[in-house]
Symmetry: C2
Subunit: 590 residues, 2 copies
C-alpha cells in the first residue's frame, strides 16, 4: 500500500518534532501553575513562556537567525532555564557553557561554535572579560543579574537581561525604542575593543525584521516550530578529558524524544517537581529542562549545590525527582545530621557517571530517597541506558540490590538499540564476562561533532555510535560498564577493569575516593596503580589498602602501587585519569 | 549553523519511529511480565513478542510484503492484540475490522483495501463466508479459535491460527514443512470458488523468502523497523454515518507519537493494567494497544462488554485504566447492585463520543472510577483533545465539575495544534459562544483517505484537518463541542446546538437516550425534533418533556416535536442522525 496510497506529508499531518511545543502547551493549558522556583521567585508557565518569546524576539532584533549560536554561562538559574526555550525559539542554537571551565577553554568554545551572543550570570563577570578578550570574533553580551547572587554584579557596559527582554516587547509593540546592546569586537591580537552600540557586523541589529509575538486565542503567544526537525537545537561541548572539547550537536527531534522518553523512563507524573542539582549545561540537564515543560511541572533552581539547601528544597517544595552525580549523593550522606531532612513524600534520584555503591544506596534510602542508575554521554542527549527495575528485586537484600543497580541496564524506550560489541562489531556473548564496547543507535544520538568530520565519522563507524566505554552483557540483557576503553589495564596479557578495582577500594572503610590507572611495568607491561583519597582523620597506610584488595580481588588485579592524595577532576567532576596516568608514568617502571 | 554543520542523518542517529520498538523493548526488559490476560490465559511479553514475530514470518511466507493489507475480524482477544504488532512486523498494514458491520460493507472494505489476508474469530464464520463470497478478489483466510468462545467454531477448511503460527516457526527453522493455507478465489459473479491450497496469485506462498527470526543477545528475536516512518501501519475505516466507509491510513510515526502521548496524557505508570472495553478495531483501541507495550503493561482482554465481567476484571486484575463510550458507563451504572464491585485501588476511565453527564460522573465516582473526557476521530488516531484537569477544580461541586468535563478540552501534547475556526479559517473569538469548526494539525493526523484524493484534499484544505465538528473556544482555551457540522438546527436564522438540547433532555429523570435533529418547517426553516427513549417502566408524555425543556432552554431551542422509541445506531454505537432526519422529514412540515 505504501506504493499505492499516494498520501504525502502536508501541513496538516506533519509538523517537525520540537520540545518547544511543550512550553507552548504548558503555558496554554496550565498558565497559572508554577514553572520556576528560585529563592522567593515563583514564576508561572504563562510568564515563563512570555519571557522566552521575548528572548527570541530580542535575539531576532540583534539579527540572530536560524542556525546561529547563542551561548549562556550561568548556574542553574531561571535565566538559563528560559534560554532552553528562548534561544531555539529564535531559530538559534543554545550553547550552555560549563561554568567551571577556564577562560582559554571558554574562548576556544565560543570561537569554535562562532557564538553570536553570550548571556552570562554576573558572578562570572571577571571570567567573561577574559573570555571576550581571548575570543577572536565579535560577540554581543547580555548580563544576567540574579537576585540570589550575593557578590558584586560586574557590570561592564553590557546590557542587563531584564532590560533586554523588556525592550524586545516594546519593539514588538511597534514602538520606536529599539536597543542594540553592546558588542565586544575583538581583534586578532586578543585586545578587546569595546565597540559601543553595534551597527554592523554579524549580529547587526538592523538585519532582521522585528519579531512578532502574535497572540493566540487566549492572548498567549503562538507556537514556534523549526522548519525541519533535524535543525540543530543545542550545542554541548564535551568536558575534554582527552584533548580539545568537541562540539556535540543536538537536533529538535532528538530533544523531543529524549525529554518525553524521560517521562516514561522515570515514571514522572504531570506537575512533577524537579530539583536542579544537575547542571543544566550538562547535556541540557539530561533534557529534563524540556521534560518539565512536557509535564507542566515545577523546576526548583539552585545556584549552589549544597546539602542543606537540597534537603530544604526537597521537603519545602515537595520535590519528587532530582538527578545527581555520585559526588552529590556523597555530600548529602555525609552532611551533618542537623541539616539532613527526610521528606514525608517519595523522592527519586537518578545518578550516573559511576555505579552507586551499596553504602550510598543504603544511606540514601535511609534519607527517604530511592536511587536509580543510568548511563549516558553528551553524545546521547544524556540518559540513554537505564537500570530498569523489576518489582521482585525489591525483596532482595541490599548487597544483591546494589549489585543489580551497579549495572547501567537497558536502552531507554526512546533509544532504539544498545548493545556490547567486539572489535569485529559483533555482539559479545551475553555471559556477563566477555568485554566489548558499548554501542548505541537511535533517534537520541547527536547529529555529530561540529566542524569535525573525522571525529564524527569515527564515532559513527559501522552505523553505530561508539561510546568508548567497555562493558559486558549479562544473560538477562542488562549491560554493565567495566571501563573507559582507554582506562583498561592490561597486565601480563590479562585485562583488568579499573572500575572493578576501584569498586573494591571504595568498599574500604577509610577510602573517600579512588581511581586506578595503568602504570608501565617492565615485567607485566602494565600494572594497576591506585590513587586514593582518605576520609578526614584517617591515616590508613598502603599495606592496609593492599591487604584489603588481596582479600577481595584476584591476585593479578591487586594494585602494585598506592598513592595517597586529592584526585584531579574535570569541571564536571570527572576524575582526570590522563593526569593520573602521567603521574603513574612519572613514577618510573619497576 | 544548520547551513554549516553538515551533519546529515546516518544509520546510528536516525531510526524510523515505530511502535514496534515498544514490544521489542518490553520483551527484552520484562520478558516474564504478563502482557495479556484472557480467561485463564496469562501470556508473557516474551511469548507475545515471539508469537508476533511468528505471525510476521507466517505472513511473509504467504508473500505478504511491505504495504499489503492484512485484515482481522475479531473481538478484543489476544489474537487481535498480537495482530497490532505481528502484521506491521511483516511490513504489512493492519486493517482491524468492525465486527458489527454487515457482509456487504465488510466485503466493500476488503475490496477497497485489497486485503491479501483475513484473520477472523471463529464466532464470525458464517459472516466471513458471506464476506468472502461477496468480495471480488482472492483473500487468504486464517481462523482464530478463541478458547473463550462458547459457540460452534465454524471451520470451513481454512487454516487454524495456532497451526499457522507454529508452522511459521518450523519453516523458519529451515525444516521442509511449509504450509500454504487456503485461498478463497472469488469470481465476478460473486460465486465463491474454494481454490484449495493456493499456489498462485497475489499471495503466492512461494513468492517471498522465508522470514528469519534472528536471535538477539538474550535469545530474543531482533527488532523490526520500517524503512520509513511514513510507511502505513494501519488502515481503519470510518463508521460511515454519511455514506461509504472511508479508509483512514495511519503511519508508524503517528502511532509511535500517539501511543507515547497517551502515557503522558493519562499519567499511566509502568506496568499499567488496562481493560479492553473499547474495541481494538476502533482507532486501534485509541492506540492503547501500543501504549501498553511502551509500558510493559498488562492488557485484560474481553470478548463481550458486560457489566459483571468488567467489575470482576477491574477488581481481580487490579485494572487501573479503561476507555469506554458513554453507553458502557451507563451499563455499569445501571447494573444490578449484585454485580457492581468497588475497586480498592484508583481506577480511571477515559470516555469520548459525548460529554459525560453529571449523573454519570457522580455515579462512576461512587463506584470508585474517575471519569476523564476526551475527543478524537478515526482520522486523529483516536484521542487528540483531552479535558486536561486542574487540581483546583477538585474543590468544585459536581455540577461545576460536570460542566468543565463536558468540554473536550485542549490538544494532547502529541497533537501540535487544535483550534476552532470560522468559514474564513480564522480563529473564532475565545468567548465560549461563537461557533466554528474544530480544526487540528499535527503528527497524529492520518496520512489521508485511501484511494480517495478528493476527500483527502477536502479534509486537509488550508493546511488543517477539518473535523466536521462544531464547537466554541472558551476564554481559558478549552474547546467545547457543540455539534456535528451537519447536525446543527437553524431555526429562524438562529443556530441551535442539538448537543445542548440533548444535554437538557438527558437531565430529565425519565430519559434514557435522546437525539435531536432538524425538522423542516415552513415558518422557521427548521425546528428541533427530539427523539427520546424512556427508561424502562416510565411512561412520561411529550408535554412533560417539553415543559422540562422550556424550564431549561431558551424558547427557540425547545423542540417542537417529541418522538418516543429506540434510536437507530451505527455498529460503533453512534446514533444515526441521518435516519432520524429522514424520519423527521417524513413527518412533513408544519
Amino acid at each position: 500500500m505504501s506504493n499505492v496510497d499516494a498520501l504525502p506529508r502536508n501541513a496538516a499531518n506533519h509538523v517537525p518534532l520540537t520540545p518547544l511545543g511543550f512550553i507552548a502547551w504548558s503555558a496554554y493549558v496550565y498558565p497559572e501553575r508554577i514553572a520556576l522556583i528560585h529563592g522567593a521567585l515563583r514564576q508561572t508557565w504563562h510568564d515563563t513562556y512570555l519571557r522566552c518569546r521575548r528572548m527570541a524576539a530580542a535575539l531576532q532584533h540583534w539579527g540572530v537567525a536560524r542556525g546561529d549560536v547563542v551561548a549562556v554561562l550561568a548556574p542553574n538559574t531561571p535565566a538559563l532555564y528560559e534560554a532552553h526555550f528562548g534561544v531555539p525559539m529564535s531559530g538559534a542554537v543554545l550553547n550552555a557553557l560549563n561554568t567551571r571551565l577556564d577562560a582559554p577553554t571558554l574562548a576556544y568554545i565560543l570561537d569554535h561554535g562562532r557564538a553570536q551572543v553570550l548571556l552570562y550570570d554576573s558572578e562570572f563577570a571577571p571570567l567573561v572579560r577574559d573570555v571576550i578578550a581571548q575570543a577572536t570574533h565579535p560577540i554581543r553580551v547580555v548580563r544576567i543579574e540574579d537576585a540570589l547572587f550575593a557578590g558584586e554584579h560586574g557590570d561592564f557596559g553590557d546590557i542587563d537581561y531584564e532590560t533586554w527582554l523588556s525592550d524586545a516587547v516594546v519593539a514588538d509593540d511597534g514602538a520606536a525604542a529599539r536597543h542594540v546592546g553592546r558588542a565586544f569586537d575583538t581583534v586578532a591580537d586578543g585586545t578587546r575593543s569595546d565597540a559601543g552600540p553595534a551597527d554592523a557586523g554579524p549580529a547587526d541589529a538592523q538585519a532582521g525584521p522585528p519579531a512578532a509575538v502574535p497572540s493566540g486565542p487566549s492572548g498567549l503567544p503562538q507556537d514556534y516550530s523549526p522548519p525541519d526537525e533535524w535543525d540543530a537545537i543545542c550545542l554541548n561541548y564535551t568536558s575534554g578529558t582527552t584533548g580539545r572539547p568537541k562540539g556535540v550537536v543536538y537536533h529538535h527531534r532528538g530533544a523531543y524524544l529524549n525529554s518525553t522518553g524521560n517521562v516514561i523512563a522515570c515514571g514522572m507524573p504531570r506537575h512533577a517537581v524537579y530539583l536542579w542539582t544537575l547542571p543544566m549545561f550538562h547535556c541540557n540537564g539530561w533534557c529534563f529542562a524540556w521534560t518539565l515543560a512536557a509535564l507542566a511541572g515545577t523546576s526548583v533552581c539552585m545556584r549552589r549545590v549544597e546539602a542543606g539547601p537540597i534537603f530544604d528544597a526537597i521537603v519545602d517544595h515537595n520535590v519528587g525527582f532530582f538527578s545527581a552525580a555520585p559526588v552529590v549523593l556523597g555530600m548529602l550522606i555525609n552532611a551533618p545530621a542537623a541539616v539532613q531532612r527526610r521528606a514525608p513524600h517519595p523522592v527519586q534520584v537518578v545518578t550516573g557517571g559511576a555505579a552507586p555503591p551499596a553504602a550510598v544506596i543504603e544511606a540514601m534510602e535511609a534519607l527517604g530517597v530511592g536511587v536509580s542508575h543510568l548511563y549516558g554521554l553528551t553524545e546521547t542527549y544524556g540518559p540513554s541506558i537505564v537500570c530498569a527495575w523489576h518489582d521482585d528485586w525489591d525483596a532482595l537484600d541490599l548487597t544483591a540490590r546494589a549489585a543489580i543497580k551497579a549495572r547501567i541496564g537497558v536502552r531507554k524506550l526512546n533509544l532504539e538499540h544498545a548493545t556490547v560489541m567486539d572489535d569485529g562489531m559483533q555482539p559479545v556473548p551475553a555471559d556477563g564476562v566477555t568485554m566489548g564496547e558499548i554501542m548505541v543507535r537511535g533517534n537520541t544520538i547527536m547529529k555529530g561533532y561540529l566542524h569535525d568530520a573525522k571525529a564524527t565519522e569515527a564515532a559513527f563507524a559501522g552505523g553505530w555510535f561508539h561510546t568508548g566505554d567497555l562493558g559486558v552483557m549479562h544473560p538477562d540483557g542488562y549491560i554493565e560498564i567495566k571501563d573507559r576503553a582507554k582506562d583498561i589495564v592490561i597486565s601480563g596479557g590479562e585485562n583488568i577493569s579499573t572500575v572493578e578495582v576501584e569498586g573494591v577500594l571504595y568498599r574500604h572503610p577509610d577510602v573517600l575516593e579512588a581511581a586506578v590507572v595503568a602504570r608501565p611495568d617492565a615485567t607485566w607491561g602494565e600494572t594497576p596503580c591506585a590513587f586514593v583519597t582518605l576520609k578526614a582523620g584517617r591515616d590508613t597506610d598502603a599495606e592496609s589498602i593492599l591487604a584489603f584488595c588481596r582479600a577481595h580481588l584476584a591476585r593479578f588485579k591487586v594494585p602494585k602501587t598506592v598513592v595517597f592524595g586529592d584526585l584531579p577532576k574535570t569541571s564536571t567532576g570527572k576524575i582526570q585519569k590522563f593526569l593520573l596516568r602521567e603521574r603513574a608514568r612519572a613514577g618510573g617502571t619497576d
